[in-house]
Amino acid sequence: MLLEAPFTEAKIRALEVGQMVEISGLVYTGRDAVHKYLHDGGKPPVNLINSIVYHCGPVVVQERGKWVVKAAGPTTSIREEPYQGPLMEQYKIRGVIGKGGMGPKTLEYCRKVGSVYFHAIGGAAQVLAEKVVAVEGVHMLEEFGSPEAIWEFRVERFPVVVTMDSHGRSLHEDVQAVSQAALDRLV
């Protein structure tokens, strides 16, 4: 199904674990340095209200004065576990795109705030870069370096799977439990 901007709470609350979704609109990249900076009280250089944050450190190069995205897959999200939930609440971040899933703290904030976790296909940097149709800006490039900067990506039909929803369900918890039981039987 297609999820188009604006990313309102109602649209996000309608999503459920297991759904394959294509996102169209503006998303902001943010990873380790950005999350730590915001959590330490730094002011966001973009408006994060009703936004989607993408855990991504892209390869972007300048060609004839224009930014061109060469590769843009997700990075592992769990590193932002201490920060993500509180930031979702503070800025009404409606969705996070990343890989590997997040923990119980973020899941609880998803429920409370009305937010979801979108799992992109890790490593699929080319397929995903092709869905970035324009780079509309970049922030904190000097301080954080290219992979850690906040890039404004205009995306079209960006493919993800909902793996944590706003109803308290997490595919990661389900798979963890199933595989733990299977492992216990094996050993």
Binding site: A71, G73, K99, I121, G123, A124, A129, H172, S179, A182
Partner: protein
């Protein structure tokens, strides 16, 4: 050899490594894709992976944006000394970074500053050896941070998982590592395992196993059996591609061993993501690539 030619050939090696997966890896992913259930998120994930592999190769761009730690092994013949090789490789890395084959991936661990050109203490990671052969052999790997982070080193006996100092204990360690990794290492993955050694040697040897092809068999029949068993058992855990659930959790498992001191028994497990970028070539003194090591 003219160092400009050496540099150009090394740049080509880096470009190829970053944008093209070896055939053995692609075939094993295709096999997994055929096995997964129609309409499942697992099959969908592997389809995106296969599309991505084709696209990166066609566009000659990084398969994954995390172009990882640059790990370089070279066997240097008499005509190529270490400083010459290092300089040419480093220059090729800087050039590859400018061209976008490699991401700016070298961060100062004290200041947090990115060097911007992939050079810095320990970057790239060189493992150089002399050879009496006439040709220069270079092997390289790009290993992303996501999969590096889910690697694990066990000390047996390990009471948490009930692993003792024998092969049965080693098996428990490896399966636990797969379970702990879930989808976080960008599965389906490949394991490199070293039984024994000290901590440093164990991890290093576990990574060197990644230079083996996925469908080869271990020369040691005990380890060959264990490799097959681990893959089968890991794929029965239901973790699946990306941790979405499914039957393709591991594509391969490669195990080696090193002697240890009586007091230590480490099991070092390195995890490689599906974006398993390894390549290599042989180069003649005239600067010609005489063969690629992974087709």
């Amino acid at each position: 050899m003219d160092s400009k030619i050496l540099q150009a050939q090394l740049l080509e090696l880096i470009r190829r490594t970053s944008s093209r997966l070896p055939g053995d890896v692609v075939r094993s992913i295709e096999k997994g894709w055929r096995k997964e259930k129609k309409g499942s998120t697992a099959k969908y994930a592997l389809k995106v992976v296969l599309d991505n592999i084709a696209m990166a190769r066609d566009k000659s761009q990084p398969l994954c944006q995390d172009t990882g730690t640059i790990i370089c092994y070279a066997d240097l013949p008499a005509w190529c000394d270490e400083p010459t090789f290092k300089k040419a490789y480093e220059r090729a890395v800087v050039q590859a970074t400018k061209k976008g084959y490699l991401r700016q991936n070298s961060v100062d661990s004290i200041t947090g500053k990115n060097s911007g050109n992939n050079l810095g203490p320990g970057n790239p990671a060189f493992h150089l050896h002399q050879t009496r052969a006439r040709t220069l052999t270079v092997r390289m790997m790009l290993k992303g941070g996501g999969c590096e982070n889910v690697g694990a080193q066990y000390t047996v006996p390990d009471t948490r998982i009930g692993a003792g100092r024998d092969l049965a204990g080693v098996r428990k360690c490896i399966l636990d590592a797969v379970h702990q990794a879930q989808g976080k290492g960008c599965g389906p993955g490949i394991l490199g395992v070293c039984i024994g050694g000290d901590r440093g040697a164990g991890y290093l040897a576990s990574k060197e196993e990644f230079f083996r092809e996925i469908d080869d068999a271990n020369d040691d029949p005990r380890l060959a059996r264990m490799e097959r068993q681990i893959v089968k058992e890991a794929n029965s855990l239901g973790i699946g591609p990306m941790g979405f659930g499914g039957s393709t959790t591991l594509l391969g498992c490669k195990i080696t061993h090193r002697n240890r001191v009586p007091a230590s028994f480490f099991v070092s497990v390195s995890y490689m993501c599906w974006a398993f970028r390894r390549d290599g070539f042989k180069l003649s003194e005239g600067g010609k690539i005489t063969s690629w090591l992974y087709e």
